[in-house]
Structure formats: C-alpha cells, structure tokens
C-alpha cells in the first residue's frame, strides 16, 4: 500500500473532513493575505456561517488546523442573530488545542485549535477570525471558496497584497471575478466568487479537487528552510534537491555490507532488485512529520539505524544504497492517489504528496515504490500510475509521465466450479487470480496475516452472497510477480437457486458498476486505469444439463470497452465464460448517453441470459 507524506497545502484546503447537513451555508468567507517588505506572510481568515436548526449545530464545533511553523492567533469568535446583534463572544479559556492526528501519520507537530459556539435560537450566525503569520513559506495560497466539505459558500473573497517587485505566479479556475489594483507600495489582487456549490461525488467521477473552484498563488522566489524558486520546474526541483542535500549518503559500513550483498551479481537490474528487496525486508513505513518534515527527508543514516521512515526517508535510503554502488537514481515527486489529481504544469511549485525513485537504465527506466513491504519490483500501481512526476535532478529537474497500468496489469481472472448438491447450499471451488488494485489489497492483507480481513476480501471478490467459506489458501507468486492466487472452497445458496419448479444458475458474476441515468449524471466518467475481468464458471453434476437451452453468446463492442460471453456444454458440464473490458478513458458528459447505452446493453444481456432448469 502506498503512503503519503504530509502535504502542507492539503492541511488548509478543506479545514475539516467532516460532512454537514447541506442547508447550512457559509455566508461570507474572506481571506486577506499580506506579504510585507520582509517577506513575512500574514493570512487573516474571517468566516461567517449560518446555522438554521439544531441538526446543523455540528458546524459550530470549530476546528482550525495550523502548522508548527505558523504563528497562529485566534482574533475573535462571536455569535450573532440574523439582525447582526451580537449574542455572545468566545472567551479565551473556551479555546483548546491539541496535536493534529491522522491515521497515516505516527506523529506530527501540527496542531488543531478548537472551540464550540452554539446558540439556542435559530437561525443564528457564527463569525470567527484568525491570523496566521509565516516567515517561511513556499506558496501564498491554495485557496477554495468551499471551506467545509458539503457546505456551500455564498460569498467568498481572496485579497492578496504583495510588495513592489515581489513576483508571483498564479492560476485560477474560470468562475472568479478578478481585479488587480496598483498600490503605493505594491499590488492588490482580488478574486471574488458567489454561490459556490458543493458537488456530490459520483461513481467513477473525477478526483474531488478537480471539481472545485480554486486559486493557487506561488511566489517566484521563497525561503523555506533555504532559498528557492518556483519560476520553473527545474528551479523548484533544484530547491528540493538542495533542501535534501547530503541526505542520501549511506554510512561506509553499510556500503560495504551492500557490496557484499550484491557480490557476484553482474546484471544492474538484478542488483537494484536485490537492494529493493533488502529495503522491503528490513524497513517499514512510519511517518513522522515535524519541523519541515513535509518536504525535507530524514537522512539515509537515520533509516540505516532505525529501519523506518516515511516515503521521503525510505526513498532517500534506497537512493543512498544505489549511490553506494555508483548507480544513479532520482528522487521523484508525485501526487499520489487512486484518483489522479492533475498537476498544473503551468504553475511550478509544491503540488505533490509522495515520493518514488526513478532509476534510469540503458534500455528502460525502473520505478520504485519504497513504502510498501509487498509491492513488486518496478511495477506501476494505481496510486502513482499514469500521471506526471517531478524528477529531482538539480537544474535539470523535469516533469515526466509515469508508466500506466496496462490491460494485462489489471487482468483479474475468476474460475469457479459449482458441484450440484442435494442440499440448498451448493459447493463451490474458486480460483481467483488477482492483479492491479485487487492484488495490492489481498497481498497486503496476506503479508499482514490478517485472516479475518482476508475472508471478507475473498467473499467480496467471489461476487455472490450468503457464502460460507470452508477452506482457503493464498498461493503467493514470486514477490516481484504482481499477481496473487486464492483458492477458495465453500457453499452458497445464491449461486444455484431453487425458485418454484425452476433451478436458476448464477452464471454471469461480473459486477457492472451501477451508473446513474444520463439525466442524473453531473460529472464526467473517468477510468484512471482499465477494468479487465474474465470469469469462467463451470456447473458440474446437473442432470440433463445438455438439454438446457443455452442463451445466445454475445460480443458487445464499443469505443468504451468490450463485453463478451460464451456458453457451451463440455463433458456434461455447463461452462460460461464472461469478459468485461473498460479502457482507460475520460468520458465527457456529452458522451455519457452513449456510454450508458453500452452499459445498459450489458445489463440487459445479463438479465436475459440466465440458465434455467424446469
């Protein structure tokens, strides 16, 4: 499983990952950012929202995250009635703080400041304002008018004041009113937007942040730990490289150990593979985000001693092992996630949350995910595939396209044999050969030895209900083969159903995603990687099976994908083969009807192609 490093922009983007009832609304969200002549950034956020009923009171439990490098001050927090009469002011002693906690980070020094502001007459309005001062920063803002997940914003303004000669680069989505005003000592840039609506996620919809309005502003030059520049990807990459200077040096003693380890191996790829296995076997992922832990790696010597680290530290460690053998490799920043949030290539700067390692070879390039104890060597995975990565190589740093998952990489095969039984529960034996994300998940559980979760995973993969698993075995492939096989046996009463005087066989088990009708779909459909699933189901021991009217075979082809089914009687058994293929693609809303028709054709066929005995 891939892991992320602590990404500074994401901390402030949605201040809370909680959802609230939709009728509450942020009335006014004003962000004023001032960069002074000493290049100290002061951000004042003032938020006013309305609570209409007791059900919405959850929003009045306010949590403000801020980082350890920021100087945070809560300016005020008050309750008003709708006539703007002040009802109550928060007292200092009502404010509490604690360390920020997330499941993926073992320890971080960021904090949450929190307080409650409730009133008992509705509607009421809460307004609070806080200031954050930062002497060092790498971006001015990653700003969205939507402050709370699930809550619309009526008015939102971003006002940025910068001194004369202070150069910034910015980008924004299209719905803002933008103005620029020249001041005596600088410039004021203003973005305003009204009625920003929360968008409900949809099945196979784009990454959520792709759907929202945003403004991103970065300084051309900055100091964060050391001086750096966002003027180009090469300058940003160069800053990352300088920030992490001398971190990729392995202690001499360990270099000698590595040399001994690979002694006799002549092929460079095999040497890299050996070191990668050493990394996987001896280290583990633990994320500690302190100081400028978001971007600066712990040195290789730290991992060498502790044998743990976050993605930066583990990647640096892997790099240092290769350095020790004179093999060149490159720290590569990536915005990881199973949904691909695109990199704004026109706006160089910090847009990443993960690090992998690129090792150039004469014939090919090797890509290494260094946080997983189970990921196969040099195999793309759904967290980092098919997107831009920033190769960190001093002033030669550059964006490159990372390898994508191919049809073969994601092929999932399920072979089931169902034996007729006198009881209502029919026996089944299944061989599941999983690749892609399904492989990642089962392989992770298997390595962890989590048997309870493995059984849940196997039931989900079998694709029918009311399963009692009597036996299962996981057959591991070679550690670098990205596939895993599970052999499962058990019973289920859902695969052969007795209904009235009929026996109905469930012979088509590929689950088709439940897409909305075209009039309800609001966002494009995105397959970030292909779906490729093949089933073979064999029914044995059913008398007179050869007399059954078999459904027509089918082959539905479209630009979106293929669906193929064949049925045959073989050795007095019924064998149905089903194959679904959906390509990597983005289906725009204007093409959604055609795609929906394709899906409906598949569903219609599955509805009418049942095998029935009378």
């Amino acid at each position: 499983m891939s892991r992320f490093f602590y990404a500074i922009p994401l901390l402030l983007y949605f201040s809370l990952f909680l959802t609230y009832p939709c009728s509450s609304q942020v009335l006014d969200y004003r962000t004023e950012i001032n960069v002074d002549d000493n290049q100290v950034k002061t951000t004042i956020k003032t938020i006013r929202f309305q609570i209409n009923s007791k059900d919405e009171n959850g929003l009045s439990h306010i949590q403000i995250p801020h980082s350890s490098k920021q100087n945070f001050t809560l300016l005020y927090a008050k309750i008003f009635d709708t006539q703007n009469n002040e009802l109550r002011k928060l007292k200092k002693k009502e404010v509490t703080s604690r360390n920020y906690k997330t499941n993926s980070v073992f320890h971080q020094d960021n904090e949450i400041t929190e307080f409650d502001l409730y009133w008992n007459e509705y509607p009421y309005q809460v307004e609070y304002s806080y200031e954050i001062k930062e002497a060092e920063f790498i971006y001015i803002t990653h700003w969205s008018p939507l402050l709370f997940k699930g809550i619309d914003s009526k008015n939102a303004n971003l006002i940025v004041t910068i001194p004369k000669g202070y150069e910034v680069n910015y980008n924004n989505t299209s719905s803002y009113t933008f103005s620029q005003e020249e001041l005596e000592n600088g410039d004021r840039l203003t973005w305003a937007i009204q009625n920003s609506h929360h968008i409900e996620p949809e099945i196979y919809g784009p990454a959520q942040d792709e759907l929202y309005e945003s403004v991103v502003i970065v300084p051309n030059n900055f100091k964060y730990g050391i001086k750096g520049s966002n003027q180009s990807w090469s300058s940003f990459g160069d800053w990352i490289m300088r920030l992490n200077k001398n971190t990729d040096i392995l202690p001499k003693e360990e270099v000698n150990q590595i040399k001994e380890l690979v002694n006799g191996i002549t092929d460079t790829t095999e040497i890299i593979r050996t070191l990668y296995h050493k990394l996987q076997d001896e280290t583990k992922y633990v994320n500690v985000a302190i100081d400028i832990g978001g971007l600066k790696s712990y040195p290789a010597s730290f991992v060498s001693k502790t044998k743990y680290g976050d993605c930066k530290a583990l990647t640096t460690y892997m790099k240092s092992m290769l350095n020790g053998l004179g093999i060149k490799s490159y720290y590569t920043l990536v915005n990881a996630g199973s949904k691909v949030s695109s990199i704004d290539t026109s706006l160089p700067g910090q847009q990443f949350n993960h690090v992998i390692l690129m090792v150039p070879q004469a014939k090919d390039t090797i890509w290494l995910e260094n946080t997983s104890k189970s990921a196969p060597f040099n195999q793309p995975n759904d967290f980092t595939q098919n997107r831009y990565g920033l190769i960190v190589d001093g002033t030669d740093s550059r964006l490159v396209q990372l390898p994508r998952l191919t049809l073969d990489d994601v092929l999932v095969r399920k072979d089931l044999t169902i034996e007729n039984s006198d009881s209502k529960n029919n026996n089944f034996q299944a061989t599941l050969t999983l690749k892609g994300a399904d492989y990642d998940h089962l392989n992770y559980l298997n390595k962890k030895g989590d048997e309870k979760s493995i059984v849940i995973n196997l039931k989900r993969n079998l694709g029918f209900k009311n399963i009692v698993i009597s036996d299962w075995t996981i057959k591991e492939s070679h550690r670098d083969n990205p596939s895993i096989q599970a052999i499962v046996s058990g019973t289920s009463k859902d695969i052969v159903r007795e209904i009235g005087n009929m026996t109905v066989l469930a012979n088509l088990l590929i689950e088709i995603p439940d897409f909305n009708r075209p009039n309800k779909r609001k966002s494009p459909v995105v397959f970030y990687y292909p779906l490729n699933e093949k089933h073979t189901i064999t029914f044995k021991g059913f008398e007179d099976i050869s007399k059954v009217d078999l459904p027509q075979n089918i082959n539905i082809k479209s630009p979106f994908g293929h669906y193929t089914v064949s049925h045959e009687i073989r050795d007095n058994s019924l064998v149905s083969q089903e194959h679904l293929l959906l390509f990597t693609q983005t289906i725009a809303l204007e093409n959604y009807s055609d795609f929906y028709d394709f899906i409906e054709k598949i569903n219609d066929y599955k509805t009418n192609a049942k095998i029935v005995f009378q």
Binding site: H61, R88, Y118, V288, I499, G500, M502, V612
Partner: protein, 662 residues
C-alpha cells in the same frame, strides 16, 4: 500500623511453585534469542516475554509522597510487519501546571541476531515525541528502531505521579500473548487502597511481606505535632504474577474490552497521615453518594443551577397549569432543545453553572445535572443516577469505586417513575440513549443504603414495511408505494443515521426499493412519534423467459446472516428488542398467471418469533410476515439458535413469487 491494601477479589490465593522472574536490562537468554514462535499460539506475530511493573511511594518533602511507577518490558517479534508491537505510547496526566505526572528515564533498545551475532540498536532520545491529546492528557510516543523478524524489543521507563488517586492499574493481558506478567506494589502506611481483579481465578505467584529496610516519615524527628511515636516504617510489598496469559482476541458486538481483559485496578480508599484524622476517601457507595452531593461539580453545581432554573421556569417555560407529567416532558424537551451535548461523557459537570448557561454546550454531567436542578425547581421528585456507559465497561456493584461510573441521568420519581437523559434531542423525553443500557445505575441520595436500578432495554422497537406493488406488463417493472414506519429505537437510529437528509435516505434505500421517483418523510421533528419514510419507486424484477420473479418485500428484509462466527463466548447484544413487520399487496396484471407462491412459515419461542403468510384474492397476492427478536441481549448459549433463526429469516423473507405471461 494501619492496613496498606484492602484486597477485594474473587480468586483463591494460590502460592504456586513459580518464582518471581529476575531480569536485568539488556541481558537476553539464549532461549529468548532463539525463540521463533510461541508454542501456545502459533498465529501470534509477537509475544511479551515479560512485563514487570512496580509502584512505590517516594517522599517529595517531609510530609508528602509521590507515586513512582517503573516498568520493564521485553517483547519478542516474530513478524516485524505488524507495526503495532513496535510503536509505544505512554500516556500521562496533567492536572495543572503545578502538579502533573512526569515520564522519565525512557530506555529502549532493539536486539537483533544477524548470523548469530547480537546487534543492539538503542533508541535515539530525539525520536521520543511528546503529543498533546487534550487539556488533561499528553503522551510520549516512539517507534523501536531497526525491528527485524526475530528482534527483541526492550523497554523501561518511570512515571512519577503526585496524584495518589492514580496508583497505576495493571493489565496482565495484551493483544499479543504474555509469557510472564508481574506487578509489585510497595505500600506505605499512610495511604490505603482497595484492589479489584478481573478475569483472575488465581495468581501463579502471590507474595506479601515487609521491606527489609526501614524508612522514616517526616523530617526525622519523632516528635512532630508534639507526639512521641516511632516515625520509622517498613513498606508492605505485594507481588502478583501471571504466566502464559493468552492474547485478548477482540470480537464483534461486545460492550467494551474493559469488561473482559485480565487486569487489576486500585482505588485510594483512605489517607492516614500521622497527627491528622484519618480521611476516608471512599469506602461505601452511600459515602460516595455523600461526597458527590457536596462535590463542586456535582451537588454544588446543581445548587448553583437553581437560580438559572428559577429564571427559565418563570420566563421561558410557564408551566403553571400543567400536570406533573406535562411539566416533566416540557422541561426535558427544553433542555434537549436549548443545550448541545459536546459528545463527552462524565458524571461531573465541567464548568460552573453560570458558564454552562452562557456556552449552552457541555458534557453529560453539565447537561443532566442541570436537568435535575430544573426538575427539582419545578417541584418534581428527581434524583441523579450514576452509571457506566457501554463503552466504559460494566459496574461491579460490590465495589464502591468512583471511577467505575462515568455517566449521570435523572430518575424521575413520578407516578410512573422513569429515567431521563437530555443529551440527545432525537430521542423522546422518556427514552434513554442506547449508550446507557449497561446493567446497573446507583441512585445518588443521602440514604444510608445504596439503591441500585437495573438498566436493561425492554422497549420493543418496530420497523413496519408496507408495500403496494403494481406491475407494468409493458416495461416489466414493479411500481411500488413503500412506507417504512419506525418506532422507538428503530426510529432513533434512522433519525440519527440520516438526519432526514433526502440524499442520504435515497442513497441507502435505492438499493432496497429500486429507483426512487418520489420520497416523503414524516415525523422526523417529533421524536415521540413514528418516523415514516415513504417512497414511490420503480423496481426491476428478475425476468426469466416469460416468467417474472417478484420479491414481495423487494430488498427490504434481511438479506445476509450477520452472525458468522462458528461459536461465541460473549453475548450477542442488539441494543434493543425489535420486530420487523412486512405487509405487501401485489396486483397481478392482465395477461399474467401466478406460477408459484412460496409456502407459509411459522416459528415462535422465547427467543424469536417468525411468521410469513401468503394469501391470494383474485388477481391480488397478499403477503404478511414479521420477525421478532424478543431480547436485546442473547446469552452465548443461545447463539447457535439465533444464528439458525437468522438463516431462516434470510431464506424465507427473500423467497420469490413467480408469475408467467400467458
């Protein structure tokens, strides 16, 4: 000398041949080094080789003691990928800036054996992090370095506490097996504790005895306060050992692991300082009640609340002509509507009454003690009842330990007495939140005898599903009017889950009833009434040739047995008894005949009632059924039977009616 420790436990003392294990930091035996699995539990990813804790009292000044707790633990790792065993968290309490616990002398090392050679990696102190959990608690945390398969992790630390009420408890059981667990408490004669054990029939080793050395109390003089007594004393040392404690395996549907883990707890019961009167901290439930009634954040808080109660009664509630029953309902609903529970439990208020009136939010204590004050002021006979919430473990009524309780509700002693809680506005005024149903509650009053109330949920909750289904022969779809009427806790759980949000309701129910064309929901605001979800839906039935397969209750009944364990040693706790009722009327269109109607089914006993009945009237098929679980909690010995009953329900309530096109 006074007694040091009152031992209250159910086990028989048993002095076995086991001796106390002598260990030295860093000295690893060859057995420990070579161990590659734990024979008694081959599935274990790690095993605690030993866990030794020792608490003693250290003199901080002439007349005061702090508690010093030392721990030394060694773990053998079989599978290093299970990270939990190498991540250490040491919580400590901060009462105020002046008095707080301190964690000191953390030492940790990882010992690996590489090709038979011992390699020790020390914990770098810079990688010990301090985390603020809330205003009262912090924790030290670190990760053992260089943990490989076969590694031995060794840890020792000291916690110094000025809080005598915080004499560390001891858990003998962990989530991994424990080979040897020892706790030693060296008592001084000035503090008396009660001890309670859980899950222990006998210790493998137990010893009590006096320390060899004598300590001096006070400033060395034996004439303090004009007295003339021996100011030297010996510590009384108690040692407890358990061997081969199995891993605690978590199971579904249990109230709290606190109820089952093998452990011992301590409670300060008396302070006996020479020259001063003995101070009984706690000795009986009535004494605890008396203390609560004078406590600043319990009894005094209720008194403080009186003047606000008076004002609210005269200015907001106007209860003059109302009956007692009406007054009670109005007051409870007033508190529910005007104050917000912050999600925290606690029997004590956390703020002064005046502050609560301003903040309008608080914990259980803030809200329910104010409710009691308000009811009192309205001349309603009411008393507080303290209890332990379900996630806090069960109270053992034999032992008067304050920290066993963490919640307070109001006992309203009206014509029909009932318990009330004003923290949840989604429940009717006379219903308690499910979190409170946990066996026992103690009435807090001035009586000399403790009075207990049982907390068991006997209120049956109903979900009644009424369906009217017509069939469109052209489109081959089922048009259905579906009404789902929920009462009591069925209504509450749905109110809580959906908050009447149409999108959330439709997202959930579209899988149950098909595509939803219209939905109307009633009764959300009136928590005393049924919460009714009405849908107009289109459902696509399964078609096989000319046959249409109709689920009379669509996908509303239970479709999968959630009880999957082979056997169960803990009760199955549903939270409340429930009755799911189904009524469906299906009109068969012209051109179709009925091909198959399933058989009726009945079963009834003390545990469960199941009924399903099909009838036909011309072109209408009527199907009526229900499954009723009579109890909220089923004992483990009933597990197999209710598991089979669940199977029957899944099987019968999802049977299909077949109609065929002529």
């Amino acid at each position: 000398m006074k007694p040091f420790l009152t031992i209250i436990c159910i086990f028989l003392f048993h002095i076995a041949s086991t001796q106390v294990k002598e260990v030295e930091y860093g000295i690893i035996s060859s057995d420990e080094a070579e161990m590659n699995n734990y024979a008694a539990d081959q599935t274990a990813n790690a095993v605690v080789l030993f866990d030794k804790g020792a608490s003693r009292f250290i003199e901080t000044d002439a007349y005061n003691y702090d508690i010093e707790f030392n721990r030394h633990k060694r773990i053998k790792i079989f599978d290093s990928s299970d990270k939990e065993n190498s991540e250490i968290k040491i919580p400590y309490y901060i009462g105020s800036k002046k008095r707080k616990e301190e964690v000191k002398s953390i030492k940790a090392q990882t010992i690996n054996y590489v090709n038979g050679e011992k390699k020790v990696t020390q914990l770098n102190p810079e990688t010990i992090y301090d985390e603020k959990l809330n205003d009262d608690w912090r924790q030290k945390k670190f990760v053992f370095p260089n943990v490989q398969d076969g590694a031995i992790l060794e840890l020792s630390y000291t916690v110094n506490s000025p809080f005598k009420f915080n004499l560390p408890d001891w858990a003998f059981q962990n989530k991994i097996p424990t080979i040897y667990s020892e706790y030693q408490v060296a008592m001084v004669p000035f503090y008396e504790y009660s001890m309670i054990t859980q899950g222990i029939n006998s210790f493998d080793f137990y010893k009590e005895g006096l320390s060899d050395a004598k300590r001096e109390w006070g400033n060395g003089s034996n004439s303090a306060y004009g007295g003339n007594y021996d100011n030297r004393f010996q510590e009384k040392i108690y040692t407890y050992v358990l061997n081969d404690v199995p891993a605690f395996k978590d199971e579904n549907f249990i109230t709290s692991i606190n109820d089952y883990i093998i452990k011992m707890d301590f409670q300060l019961s008396k302070v006996s300082i020479p020259g001063q009167l003995d101070k009984k901290v706690i000795s009986t439930w009535p004494k605890l009640n008396a203390d609560l009634l004078t406590n600043e954040y319990f009894g005094f808080y209720m008194k403080q609340s009186k003047r606000f109660a008076k004002k609210i009664l005269s200015e907001d509630l106007h209860l003059g002509d109302k009956s007692n029953e009406e007054k009670i309902a109005a007051i409870i609903n007033y508190v529910k509507e005007n104050y917000e529970w912050n999600g925290r439990k606690g029997k004590f208020a956390t703020q002064k009454a005046k502050e609560f009136q301003l903040s309008k939010t608080g914990n259980v204590g803030d809200i329910n003690l104010f409710l009691i004050a308000l009811l009192n002021e309205a001349d309603i006979d009411v008393e507080p009842v303290i209890l332990s919430s379900r996630d806090h473990g069960k109270i053992n009524v034999d032992y008067p330990f304050s920290h066993f309780t963490n919640y307070v509700v109001a006992l309203i002693k009206n014509k029909n007495p009932f318990l009330a809680d004003a923290t949840d506005d989604l429940l009717p005024f006379h219903r308690l939140p499910l979190r409170t149903y946990n066996d026992w509650g103690l009435i807090v009053n001035k009586d000399d005898e403790a009075k207990w109330i049982t907390f068991s949920n006997t209120v049956e909750s109903i979900e009644k599903n009424v369906l009217t289904i017509t069939i469109d022969p052209e489109s081959k779809t089922l048009s259905s009017l579906v009404s789902i009427q929920n009462t009591e806790y069925e209504a509450y759980t749905k109110r809580q889950k959906y908050r009447n949000d149409e999108n959330d309701i439709e997202d959930y129910y579209s899988e149950k009833v098909g595509s939803i064309n219209k939905s109307v929901h009633r009764g959300y605001e009136k928590n005393n009434n049924a919460y009714v979800l009405n849908f107009k839906t289109e459902f696509e039935p399964e078609i096989i040739g000319k046959k249409m397969l109709i689920k009379p209750f669509l996908n509303l009944p239970l479709s999968e047995n959630k009880l999957t364990q082979e056997e169960r040693t803990y009760p199955v706790d549903f939270g409340f008894p429930f009755n799911n009722i189904f009524e469906s009327q299906i009109t068969i269109p012209e051109g179709y005949t009925i091909d198959f109607i399933p058989e009726n089914f009945q079963k009834s006993n003390d545990l469960v009632t199941i009924n399903l009945n099909y009838s036909q009237d011309g072109s209408n098929i009527r199907v009526i059924g229900n499954y009723q679980f009579h109890k909220a909690i089923y004992a483990p010995e009933n597990y197999q039977e209710i598991k089979e009953d669940m199977d029957l329900i899944v099987s019968h309530f999802n049977e299909l009616i077949i109609i065929e096109q002529e």
